[in-house]
Amino acid sequence: MKAQIEDFRKILSEVLEREIHSINITDTPKDIDGWDSLNHIYIIIKLENIYNVKFSTSQIQNWSCINDIISDINTLI
C-alpha cells in the first residue's frame, strides 16, 4: 500500500500530539509548529516502524519537503 499525504498527516499529528488538520506536499518542517529536530527523528522512527523500511542517511539529508519523504517511502516499500 502506497503512502499518501493523508497517512503522513495522521502520523504527524500523533508525533506532535495535536491534530494537524491540513498539510501540503510542499510543506517543510518550518511550516509546521513543533516539527523540530527531535520530533523529526520521532517521525522517522514511526515511519520506519509503520512501513517496515529503513531510510539511508543520504535520503534523510535530501528531504526538503513532505513530498520527498512520501516519495522515499514509496520507493522503499
Binding site: E17, D33, G34, D36, S37, L38, H40, I41, I44, I45
Partner: protein, 131 residues
C-alpha cells in the same frame, strides 16, 4: 567498545533560577553562568556536588514547544551527556546500535566544543560532547 564517560545529567525546569536554589539545598553548587543557547531555544547552567556529580538545568524558551510539552507531561529528566574523543567515530557506533542523530552543533556552554544529540527507538536521549 567506546568509553562513554558521563559528563552530566540534564533536567528540564520551567524556572532555572528557582531550580538552582532547590539544587543548592541538595548540595549542588552552581559552577557556570546561565547560558542563553538561542539556537536551541533554551537557557542552561551547570551544578556540581561533593561527589563530583554534575547536573545541567535546562529551561526552554516559551517557543520551544517540544521541551515545554515534556515538562507539562511531568517529565524532567531530559538527557545524559557523555564525553567522547570523536563524535564521528561514536556516531558510527551509535547508528550501528539503533541510535539516530538529532543534530550536531558547537556549544557556548562547552567552550565552543562540538556536541551532538542522539535518540534511540525507545526515546532515550543522549548528548555527546567532544573532549
Amino acid at each position: 567498545m567506546i568509553n562513554f564517560e558521563i559528563d552530566h545529567i540534564a533536567f528540564l525546569t520551567e524556572n532555572i533560577e528557582f531550580s538552582v536554589v532547590e539544587m543548592n539545598a541538595l548540595g549542588f553548587a552552581l559552577e557556570s553562568p546561565i547560558f542563553d543557547i538561542i539556537a536551541q531555544k533554551v537557557r542552561v547552567c551547570f551544578l556540581r556536588n561533593k561527589n563530583n556529580i554534575r547536573y545541567e538545568l535546562v529551561e526552554p524558551y516559551d517557543s520551544n514547544l517540544t521541551l515545554k510539552k515534556l515538562i507539562a507531561s511531568g517529565l524532567t529528566i531530559y538527557h545524559t551527556a557523555y564525553l567522547v574523543i570523536s563524535i564521528e567515530n561514536t556516531t558510527n557506533y551509535l547508528k550501528e546500535h539503533g541510535f539516530y542523530m538529532v543534530n550536531i552543533f558547537k556549544s557556548d556552554a562547552f567552550d565552543g566544543r562540538r556536541c551532538a544529540f542522539f535518540v534511540s527507538k525507545s526515546k532515550i536521549l543522549i548528548e555527546l560532547i567532544e573532549k
